[in-house]
């Protein structure tokens, strides 16, 4: 989208209409409007990953280059998945179309497009299931929601399954827990069989497979940027930290999303980790091979998820560490919490995590042997093992954004709040229907955070931004804290658009700011290198 044509906030707001169009959903064709969909995947990445049907095609063109037997391929794929996933089978059968999920999806709230109601998103697939896999659908057809699968229908799948961030908010409200994210995952797997996916899912997956991280950063650049971070920590705090890489025999392997060492504001979070590990003398190592915790395989297929995730345990075993700590990332933690052990366990070569400082045994991770850094830090704070000066974060007035996956797939709600309340003095929650398990997605998850998809992202992020605006106006909030790499990448442009003047930061950035460490300088600047006092004065004035 070019700058001058960029749609304005009030245009978006004025255009939102929750009343559906006059034509029924089965008869309303999909419209590939510029700015609301992602680019298709170039064949080379499909080839690299050994995916079926790699070919060049463009989502906005008429001909998608589908193989002649595309329908059989899809039916075979559905048959297979209906036998492998109880979720898929049951969710296809039991929806009553009560509509409780309808206005829970941020994409529906921000676009008013009825096919963004989770129920209709799922119905796109269910209609095919009904017609070709059930008796009732064969006999009663449309009356029970059966519809013939056409090429147009495949395009609709592509458009709407890549307009779902797999955030699972709908599943919180559905009386049967129907999880449209699960349906979307099935839909995307089926599209893969025809060689249809988007660039920003498959390319990072291919990169991650090869180099170990999404951005395709090679070992030397990885090492450089970790070292830069150490230097910046020194410049800003006067503390000399070390960051060993691929070191055998360390107690802990630390894995974080790659954006932490290449993106901003992620980078400040990375500096926070480095300071924290230094402060408590953690015996740990990074890995250049498993240099990505995030897993775009989750947005691609179950197999791809497993292929990418495999590196973490593989590396933990090779480096002979005792347990693993994972950094701040949302979808990364969905995989680590709900899939990793099943896919790539068991982990008999690791030990149940025990904090070397407090002696706390993390029994809730007895099987995966992997804990979230906020669990590690909260435990340290609770046992008074960190010397903290929260006033160094006084220039921040903070609210906390629960990322979808830690909230709705882990239940990691209190740990970050506990940390924030201990390292900061100004904290205000957003309205209760927009946080914790009801949190709103950033609107750019599951691979949809691309430039070409900007209008849809801004729409999908509207509910989140609107809640931030509320606390900004009410409490003067100027910083949105979060624990997710995708959030840190996509919330800044979102807030810039809807609520200018609110920054985005990771929780461990505040930890780093507040930490008192032996040998530090006067700490006149924060981890961003900005003067602390001056900012405070500016705020007072």
């Amino acid at each position: 989208m070019s700058e001058e044509k960029k749609i304005k906030p009030n245009e978006i707001l004025a255009g939102i209409d929750y009343n559906p169009p006059a034509t029924g959903w089965m008869d309303t064709p999909v419209d590939f409007k510029k700015g609301t969909f992602c680019n298709s995947v170039p064949a080379k990445f499909m080839e690299y990953l050994g995916q079926p049907q790699p070919h060049e095609w463009k989502s906005y063109q008429d001909d998608w280059g589908l193989p002649d037997n595309w329908r059989e391929i899809i039916f075979e794929g559905m048959r297979e998945r209906l036998k492998k996933f109880r979720t898929f089978r049951v969710f296809m059968d039991i929806c009553v179309r009560c509509g409780a999920c309808a206005d829970k999806c941020h994409f529906f709230i921000g676009s008013g497009d009825p096919k963004n109601m989770p129920v209709l998103r799922a119905e796109l697939l269910r209609a095919v299931y009904k017609r070709d896999f059930t008796l009732a659908g064969k006999i009663m057809g449309r009356f029970v929601g059966a519809r013939k699968l056409t090429v147009q229908g495949i395009k609709e799948w592509f458009y709407y399954f890549f307009q779902c961030t797999e955030c699972r908010r709908c599943s919180v409200f559905c009386p049967y827990g129907i999880d449209t994210a699960e349906i979307t995952m099935m839909g995307r797997e089926l599209l893969n069989l025809l060689g249809l996916n988007i660039g920003w899912v498959t390319e990072p997956a291919a990169n991650c497979f090869r180099t170990g991280n999404h951005l395709g950063i090679e070992p030397h650049a990885f090492k450089d940027s970790i070292e830069f971070a150490c230097d910046d920590v020194f410049d800003n705090t006067g503390v000399k930290v070390e960051a060993p890489i691929n070191r055998k025999g360390a107690e802990v392997l630390f894995v974080s999303p790659s954006a932490d060492y290449f993106g901003t504001p992620h980078y400040y979070t990375l500096m926070g980790y480095l300071l924290l590990f230094h402060a408590v003398g953690l015996d740990y190592t990074w890995s250049a091979y498993a240099s990505e915790g995030g897993n775009f395989g989750l947005f691609h297929s179950h197999d791809m998820m497993k292929r990418l995730n495999n590196k973490i345990y593989h590396e933990a075993k090779r480096l002979k560490v005792k347990y693993i700590i994972g950094g701040e990332c949302g979808h990364m933690w969905r995989v680590l919490h709900q899939y990793m052990d099943t896919m790539n366990g068991p982990t008999d070569f690791l030990e149940v995590p025990v904090s070397h400082v407090t002696g706390t045994r993390f029994d809730h991770a007895a099987s995966t042997k992997m804990i979230h850094i906020s669990e590690f830090t909260a435990d340290l704070i609770k046992h008074n093992k960190l010397k903290l000066d929260p006033s160094r974060n006084n220039h921040w007035n903070i609210t906390f954004h629960d990322s979808c996956n830690p909230a709705r797939a882990m239940g990691l709600l209190e740990e970050p709040r506990y940390i924030i309340k201990n390292v900061c003095n100004n904290f205000h929650e957003m309205p209760e229907n927009t946080i914790r398990e009801q949190t709103f997605c950033c609107g750019s998850g599951s691979g949809l955070g691309t430039e070409e998809n900007m209008e849809m992202r801004l729409r999908g992020g509207l509910p989140r931004a609107n809640a931030v605006k509320y606390v900004k106006e009410k409490h003067g909030v100027n910083c949105l804290a979060c624990m997710c790499a995708i959030d840190k990448a996509t919330l800044p442009p979102l807030l810039e658009y809807w609520v200018p003047g609110v920054e985005v930061a990771g929780v461990h950035e505040f930890v780093g700011n507040a930490l008192n460490i032996e040998g530090q300088n006067e700490r006149t600047v924060d981890l961003r290198g900005e003067p602390i006092k001056e900012q405070e004065e500016k705020k007072d004035a």
């Binding site: 509509g99 827990g177 070992p219 890489i245 709900q338 809640a467």
Partner: protein
């Protein structure tokens, strides 16, 4: 359109039932047995089919604090970490529609401010409907046993607590009709729900409404001979069917509707009744990191091993001084 089709379909069934009263053997015996068989077999087959599909991953939707550090209060109902929690969560879902109770309504105020008001109407309507339905079904057991079970009598008394008329007026009769009326009106007048509604969604409501209304009609207006009906039902239950003379046509219509519901049940969205028990986002514990979940078809996939990676980047690794497993 969908609404009208379903309505006409229900009227059609009414007419069939009306003429059916002239064929008591078919409509009093053959169809009820067939419908019941379809219902039982259909449900059992469906549940077996579901049960045979594996649950490859443990993916509960967590709606509360996980169990992690001992001093953080975890929520065993919304994010259950053991069997007790799962049972409690399912109990709340099945009997009190816990998730539906969360319902909110998103609105855009002044075109700039999104608010999510609590919206309990659907929950109230759904509770009133389902509980009335359940109690009415239970009350019908007075036709199925001789002597009538004491708990059924007790239920009957409770339901008829407000003795407004003779025969005793049952509260559930009022509630089920009112609730069904609300659910129908909602489908018709809420633009979003109307948009997603299929013919079969209206049909389920009409069918149940037709059952309820013919039942009420028999009970309060055009009274039928209850003694004879019980004779018929008892003979059906005993598998020694006789159709007594003089059972009004209305009863046959009511019975026919019930038969249609039974036969339709296993092939329709009414499957949500058994289905809710099978939903993996609700019936699994959130103890993923503590206990390994097994995927019976865990596939072999091609991975990029450390050795391959080291081979590819060996020169770089050497140059930047990272340790190598193999020198060459």
């Amino acid at each position: 359109m969908n609404f009208i089709t379903s309505f006409l379909l229900t009227v059609g069934l009414f007419i069939v039932g009306y003429f059916g009263s002239r064929l008591p053997f078919v409509f009093g015996l053959v169809i009820p047995y067939t419908a019941l068989t379809l219902f039982v077999l259909g449900l059992v087959c469906r549940m077996i089919a579901w049960a045979r599909v594996p649950v490859p991953f443990r993916i509960p939707t967590t709606c509360g604090q996980q169990r992690s550090l001992s001093w953080i209060k975890s929520n065993n109902l919304e994010s259950p970490f053991n069997l007790l929690g799962v049972v409690g969560r399912m109990f709340l879902e099945v009997f009190f529609f816990r998730s539906l109770f969360r319902n909110t309504k998103a609105e855009l105020y002044d075109g700039t401010r999104l608010v999510y008001g609590s919206n309990k109407f659907l929950w109230v309507g759904a509770m009133a409907f389902h509980w009335s339905f359940l109690l009415i079904v239970l009350r019908h057991f007075r036709f199925f046993t001789e002597p009538v079970l004491p708990c059924v009598l007790w239920l009957q008394d409770l339901d008829g607590l407000f003795e407004i008329a003779v025969p005793a007026f049952y509260l559930t009769n009022f509630f089920i009709v009112a609730a069904l009326g609300y659910l129908l009106a909602r489908r018709l007048f809420n633009p979003q729900v109307r948009y997603i509604s299929l013919g079969s969604d209206y049909f389920a409501l009409f069918l149940i409404l037709a059952i309820a209304l013919t039942g009420i009609w028999m009970r309060y207006i055009d009274k039928v001979d209850v003694v004879k009906i019980k004779e018929l039902v008892m003979s059906l239950v005993a598998f020694a069917p006789v159709v007594p003379d003089g059972i009004g046509w209305l009863f046959f219509v009511h019975l026919f509707f019930v038969c249609v519901l039974l036969a339709y049940f296993p092939f329709s969205k009414l499957l949500h009744m058994p289905g809710v028990f099978f939903s993996p986002t609700r019936n699994l514990a959130n103890n993923n990191r503590a206990k390994r979940h097994i995927n019976p078809w865990n596939p072999e996939v091609k991975c990029h091993t450390y050795e391959e990676w080291e081979d590819e980047f060996r020169d770089t690794l050497k140059r930047i001084g990272l340790p190598l497993d193999k020198a060459e």
